[in-house]
């Protein structure tokens, strides 16, 4: 598993498109099951998963318990790792960085930014490579 992380407009999508021109893209649909990415899987094809912010915004409105939501995300990451090794489909995750500003006034935005941060940590711990995208430039973090 590989991770591309960066802020809004940092150039993450361009960076991933450039490196994996033949990859299949799966944008998470808010409200759908996480493993809907199974539909986009094909043997040997690289799978890019994006759309985490919108998915999480919808999910945290339904699931009030942050630990449980984080647990579901970790389980999904572990499933992805299995899929990756079994199907031989390398997985690339595009994740947002949104943890560096002022603490938001709205509780839901505070939850969102916590969950996005945990997701990045949990994904990075399981990824073989982590890339930080900043103003269109890229640095290897792992």
């Amino acid at each position: 598993m590989q991770l591309f992380i960066g802020g809004a407009g940092a150039g993450k999508h361009a960076a991933v498109s450039e490196r994996f021109p033949t990859a299949r893209w799966h944008r998470l649909t808010p409200g759908d099951a996480l493993d809907a990415w199974n539909e986009s899987l094909a043997d040997g094809m690289i799978l890019v998963v994006t759309g985490w912010t919108a998915w999480l915004e919808a999910a945290l409105a339904v699931e009030r318990d942050d630990d449980r939501l984080r647990g579901r995300l970790v389980a999904a990451l572990e499933t992805l790792a299995v899929v990756e090794s079994e199907a031989g489909s390398p997985v690339v995750l595009i994740l947002p960085e949104m943890g560096r500003g002022i603490v938001p006034m709205e509780p839901e935005l505070r939850r969102l930014r916590d969950l996005v941060g945990w997701l990045a940590q949990d994904a990075a711990a399981r990824a073989e490579a982590v890339w930080y995208v900043r103003h269109g430039l890229i640095k290897a973090l792992k």
Partner: protein, 178 residues
């Protein structure tokens, strides 16, 4: 040389950028120019501008950065160093006062980069990293961040040197030697 220096509020970006501009100038022996983007809209802003001016010292020649950035360097002698501080403020005037879209903004900015090279100047651009936070939901702010990020990616692509500043420490993202 064109350099891009950015970081958070009070991270020390201006000091790092001034040092870079000075180092370029020492090699060439030209004049130091400061392209100011801030206007004294209130007392706090006026004090902030005065503090920056005092910190820079008297050797800097201050000019206002115009919205038409291509003309910003008119009359500046080759070998001089120019510091634009900061792009965030220029972008907010360009977006909210002049109503520039991304294409107009990047074209104006491109004109500055082209003029820098054509006049054999060194240019150091300072900006704020604003895009790694939870963004306000309103379209105006989101549009502004997207506009600013177009300029940041353009500058990072074309600059010889890109530096991130954290707590006064310069982290190289792109350097001529690399």
């Amino acid at each position: 040389m064109i350099a891009f220096v950015s970081g958070g509020a009070r991270s020390g970006k201006s000091e790092v950028a001034e040092r870079l501009a000075r180092e370029c100038r020492q090699a060439g022996g030209g004049t130091l120019y400061y392209l100011a983007t801030a206007t004294a809209s209130d007392a706090e802003m006026a004090a902030r501008i005065a503090r920056h001016r005092r910190d820079r010292g008297a050797e800097w020649h201050t000019r206002e950065a115009p919205l038409a950035l291509g003309s910003a360097l008119d009359g500046i002698d080759p070998g001089s160093s120019v510091l634009l501080d900061c792009l965030t403020l220029w972008a907010s005037r360009a977006r909210f006062e002049a109503g520039f879209d991304s294409a107009t903004g990047t074209a104006q900015f491109e004109a500055l980069l082209v003029a820098t090279r054509a006049r054999s100047l060194d240019l150091v651009v300072v900006s704020n990293d604003l895009n790694e936070a939870v963004l306000p939901g309103d379209l105006a702010t989101r549009g502004y961040v997207a506009f600013l990020q177009c300029l940041h990616r353009q500058l990072a692509r074309e600059a010889d040197r890109v530096v991130e500043v954290v707590a006064g420490i310069a982290i190289d993202w792109k350097s001529p030697s690399a």
